[in-house]
Amino acid sequence: MALLKMEEWYDLARETNWTPGYVSSEELYPKPMSNNFDIPLEKWEAFDEPYKSTYRDYVSAQRDKDVGAYSVKAALARADFFKNASPHWKALLALHFSAVCWAEFHSASAFARMTRFSQSPGMRNMATFGTLDEIRHGQIQIYFAYEFLKHDAVFDWCHKSSKTENWIIISLRHALDDIAHTRDATSAAIMLNMGLELAFTNLQFVALSADAAKCGDHSFATMLQSIQTDEARHAQIGEPIVRIMVENGKKKEAQQLVEIAFWRMWKQFSALSGIGMDYYTPLEHRENSLKDFMEEWVIGQFGRTVEALGLDLPWYWDILKEDISSFHHANQIGVYAYRATEWWRPIAGTSPAEREWLEEKYPGWNETYGKCWDVISENIRNGDYEKTVPAPPPLICNMCGLEVIGTAGDQWNAVNHHVDIEDRRYHFCSEPCKWIFEIEPERYKGHKSIIDRVFDGTIGPEPDDFYNYMGQTEAERGTDGYNYRWVDGYDDEEEGKKKYGTG
């Protein structure tokens, strides 16, 4: 039993610091790893995190969370949920787990860097818990996904994907490497905690959790909620750092770090959560669209947080407000059409009823992106399945690694931004992607998109060369999740036999 109450010793423990005696401060906190932005140590020592926890309390709370999450999973293990789930939900689970598991686990490295190299002892404390959180998040999600492996080998990609050169993984890995794994501890904290976690994890973990519960996937919903409680705590590391930076004349530096990270992660979440929410969540269980959620939680709430910290709204905020209604719709066309390049079974998500929902949530959808789907649908009705697979590859953005897209159909608007360096053309999907590149071209110019690798000879000329390069055997190339049985509505009689929950 503790002899002292936490409030009697906590501040002493979290604020304890020392002047190094065996090495210099510069050797203990080298700038490439630590970066104090020339702010004096006593200012960093004022770091004050909103949520405070001791190790004892952390262990106790996390144990309770794990008991909760794992016991729900165990209770539902015999429900055969996955076997009875719709292809929509299976696609969503495959996409989430294979993209997120390793990303979480890799984040432990970034938090460990903060643990070791943060100037502030309070931040080192919080980052210690953050490191443990991310190890937990990697492991719990790998463990939950493992259950599905016996039903579908696609879940092998939960472990495998980060080690491949699949174009989607190149995109995600490049973004995370940029903001978290190749930055000093201070910059990584701002970018990861503010630009990713505070801004976007509600999208993937709260909104998706609500949809999962509606679909009857209580195991997944509980897991996501459990993870998000950790995110809410360790994402708070970024805010005090930004305050210290702003108060000490480094607003411009903090602003740029947030702006780079936010846009990079917006592009990733627009694909992951945008396609997940607007196309892969079964229609009858959908509530909010990506746009609804972004407007409330990101443009609204996160925007207010940014301003409350003394920063300005990112310069591209108006571009973002347009992007939330467009980018993921165009991407979904490409994700479906180029489905063989993905390792899961993509869903079109554009049956007549689904198109009505999309039109309601995104007025004008049918006259724009819907026009491409009209052509795809007509080919399927005519049995011309080979025409649903395009011959030419898409142009890929040299920053976000996703397609360079614009508005389709009747409001056609081609979008292209580019930079020429040393006789090489770099293409970008948006002004902010181009802006990020131009901040530090030396940092980014050596990277090659999957398409660059096709045309510079890195990837051989045969179709199998392309898939082999991306780590996909023939069995691992995506096919239509409904085998084209969606064009005029789903086969209700057959799908109706499938149950979403324990039934």
Partner: protein
């Protein structure tokens, strides 16, 4: 004669596609390659009589149809738009 990749966005399509043409091809032939690969896949056939032109992204005027790729001063992966010319 050598392969030359171009990034093209055909009117109505949702984004750019990379097509490979021969550098001795004319712009007319580039347009035809674009039509062959994208019409009926992402874009519905154009109305009969529609005249398609190509222009460098951001340019006001179209490229001459008989201009060869090798003479057009393109950089590899130059971004072109292929669009329906409005009747005068």
């Amino acid at each position: 004669m050598a392969d030359f990749p171009l990034a093209v966005n055909l009117q109505g399509d949702y984004g750019y596609k990379v097509i490979v043409v021969d550098d001795q091809n004319t712009i007319s032939e580039v347009i035809q390659t674009c039509i062959d690969q994208i019409v009926g896949v992402f874009v519905a056939p154009f109305p009969e009589g529609a005249v398609l032109r190509a222009r460098v992204h951001g340019a006001e005027v179209p490229l001459a149809n008989n201009l060869k790729v090798s003479d057009a001063n393109f950089i590899q992966m130059e971004a072109l738009q292929v669009y329906v010319e409005q009747a005068q």
